[in-house]
């Protein structure tokens, strides 16, 4: 009984200490982590729709969580999905006819190597702009989840509501 109590007390004390250390450090790094993520997302969006169009702030009319940007002749939707390794987020750019002009992955946790089709520059991501995207051998779950998420984004576009002239 004494040994059991000693074991429980040691584990509990160490767990508390570990939790406190992690909470303190997570708090300390929170702002830098958030800024890094936003910068990375901004770089991806500039690459997607051109630096002169995307100023860096997410201006445009907010439309739920979906709309990132809506100006002139482009609307960018953000859409989440779930792949092999976990969740991912996409940015899908459409012109005012509803044609896909570009797809970028904002973040993902797919297996390195198999998930490389998600990292720009990627011929596979570019294949969405020709309307001819197919699932990829060796990355079936990943690629099908992305295709499904892109079509969900396209279905959800309501251009008249989202981008009134």
């Amino acid at each position: 009984m004494r040994a059991l109590l000693r074991n429980v007390a040691a584990l509990a004390a160490l767990t508390l200490l570990a939790g406190a250390a992690l909470a303190w450090f997570a708090d300390l790094t929170e702002d830098d982590v958030a800024r890094n993520r936003l910068e990375a997302e901004t770089r991806i969006l500039r690459d997607l729709i051109g630096a002169e169009t995307f100023a860096g702030d997410h201006k445009g009319r907010p439309y739920g969580e979906d709309l990132v940007f809506c100006e002139r002749d482009v609307v960018v939707l953000r859409v989440a999905g779930s792949g092999y390794g976990g969740g991912f987020r996409l940015a899908v750019a459409l012109d005012l006819d509803g044609t896909i002009t570009g797809v970028r992955v904002l973040d993902h946790v797919e297996t390195p190597g198999f998930g490389d089709i998600l990292n720009a520059p990627s011929a596979w991501l570019d294949s969405f702009t020709t309307g001819d995207a197919h699932a990829v051998t060796g990355a079936t779950i990943t690629s099908q989840a992305v295709i499904e998420a892109v079509s969900r984004a396209v279905d959800r576009v309501r251009l008249e509501e989202m981008c009134p002239p």
Binding site: N7, A10, L11, L14, F25, A26, T29, D32, A40, G113
Partner: protein, 194 residues
């Protein structure tokens, strides 16, 4: 040979004990990635080993493994957060492999065999030596793969990791065998003739 050199060379975690091979193969495609993982592993191993050595008399024998794993996981998460905050480019390239440092048996082995039994000084030397040995192995592999990629693109891909690591290990074994033979020869020469 002192404890540092012993841990780094004679018991080199990668080349002699063949521990920590998953990150060694996965992250050695460039020197920059290899250096990032070497630094992360060094911080986790040294920090965990020193902390375990400091609290070794308070940790009950029965629950020592969960305690060690908890300490290693905490240091791994701290390093991961630090990279995400202060070295984001590197984080995006090697984050997954930094996270799985927690399962690296090289680290648990040093903690179970040394840090949980010995004082701070010896533990620190052993941890730094082991880290230096791992860093040397992953940097040599990273440099070899990056250089070979120029004329042999396969070197940067996963099969190339196995090929280059296999050839390097074969080289280490040849050198080791030659040194052993030389030592045995020298001993034999000193023996008086009967």
């Amino acid at each position: 040979m002192n404890r540092f050199a012993q841990a780094a060379v004679a018991r080199n975690p990668a080349a002699v004990q063949l521990l920590g091979l998953c990150p060694l193969l996965a992250v050695s495609n460039t020197v920059a990635n290899a250096l990032g993982l070497a630094i992360a592993s060094t911080v986790v191993l040294t920090g965990s080993a020193v902390l375990v050595s400091a609290i070794r008399k308070l940790v009950p024998e029965d629950v020592r493994l969960p305690c060690f794993v908890l300490v290693i996981a905490t240091f791994t998460t701290l390093v991961n957060l630090a990279m995400e905050a202060y070295a984001f480019d590197l984080y995006q390239r090697i984050a997954l492999f930094v996270q799985i440092i927690v399962t690296n048996c090289m680290i648990l082995a040093r903690i179970e065999q040394v840090a949980s039994k010995e004082g701070l000084g010896r533990t620190l030397l052993d941890a730094l030596g082991t880290s230096a040995g791992f860093a040397a192995a992953i940097l040599v592999l990273g440099a070899a793969r990056e250089a070979l990629t120029l004329g042999f693109p396969l070197a940067a891909l996963p099969p190339g990791a196995f090929l280059v690591a296999g050839l390097l290990l074969a080289g280490v074994n040849v050198l080791g065998a030659r040194r052993r033979r030389a030592r045995e020869g020298a001993t034999a020469a000193r023996l008086p003739r009967a």
